[in-house]
Symmetry: C2
Subunit: 181 residues, 2 copies
């Protein structure tokens, strides 16, 4: 999903500033399945404004840049509906962790073990943070998505705990000078 459509969708749920949009995708209940940086969000909002798909009210603030609260225009809502009619593309899962494991022949077994330990901790942390999101009042869709995230994280955690034995002996230690040849 391009940042453009992402912004339209978020604004469909309520007015927001660019800063708030960024926060939602980076830390909020959107963080599980999307991300976008300032470098893409602000230009997107500018363009959407030019196209009349969003509008904004400026709230002056002393000692701080004026706050621009964006809201979806009727044309923007139509554009969102059109975008959502298209079939969503397949999910994309990127994992440096799994890549590192695959290439782990080049690293020591201790490093592999450390990698997995770190990973287990990260999964537990992620699950906790998702669970705490559930406390806040949410729409059913939002709750569904967060619970989905929890389920997937939990499955990853369980798999790692139950199968790390498979990686016994993965990794190479630096060969000491070989006797042969």
């Amino acid at each position: 999903m391009d940042v453009r459509t992402l912004c339209l969708g978020i604004l469909a749920l309520g007015d927001a500033t660019g800063y708030e949009i960024r926060k939602m995708v980076a830390e909020g209940s959107f963080s599980f399945f999307s991300e976008a940086s300032y470098g893409s969000i602000y230009p997107a909002l500018t363009r959407l404004t030019e196209e009349g798909l969003v509008t904004y009210q400026t709230t002056p603030q002393s000692k701080r840049p004026d706050k621009k609260v964006y809201n979806l225009s009727p044309a923007g809502r139509e554009e969102l509906t059109r975008a959502l009619r298209r079939d969503p593309g397949p999910d994309k899962n990127r994992s440096e962790f799994l890549a590192s494991l695959l290439f782990a022949e080049a690293v020591s077994p201790e490093r592999v073990n450390e990698l997995i330990g770190d990973r287990l901790r990260q999964h537990r942390q992620k699950i906790d943070s998702l669970k705490s999101l559930l406390d806040e009042d949410m729409t059913p869709a939002s709750s569904f998505v967060v619970q989905f995230g929890i389920a997937v994280q939990q499955a990853a955690l369980d798999f790692l705990e139950n199968n790390r034995g498979m990686l016994e002996g993965i990794g190479t230690r630096k060969k000491r000078k070989s006797a042969s040849a």
Copy 2:
């Protein structure tokens, strides 16, 4: 993981052409957690060659561009080891599907239902294709990663099957001309 390191890692597992690398990340056992397009792979290989981290042998082919089989140089292997010493960043999961659900207030309940049906099919297909990868002979690490993928896909599938009821009544149908005002 940048494409550069990805290429080094893949070449550490065996020599390959740019075309083959692309195929591995797009369809092979790497497809679960990484992706890269020609537009990033070919320039990366060119730069790696310039830097002496990979070399290649040209296999002339009539009626087809010459095949360039790349292989990792000792310097490249060192660079890979250095890269793998850095802590892997967090996973990134992007899902247009989940985003669509969150924004689904703007679409019809039927569309939501259709979305989920499609999704169930896609998960089953993905699981099948991952399972068929397991038949091929694999390194332990490779097998671990694929089984990890299966576990996660299965968890997502199970969640959808068991909880789609949560989305009952999500979505709005176009209001017919309201009696009131």
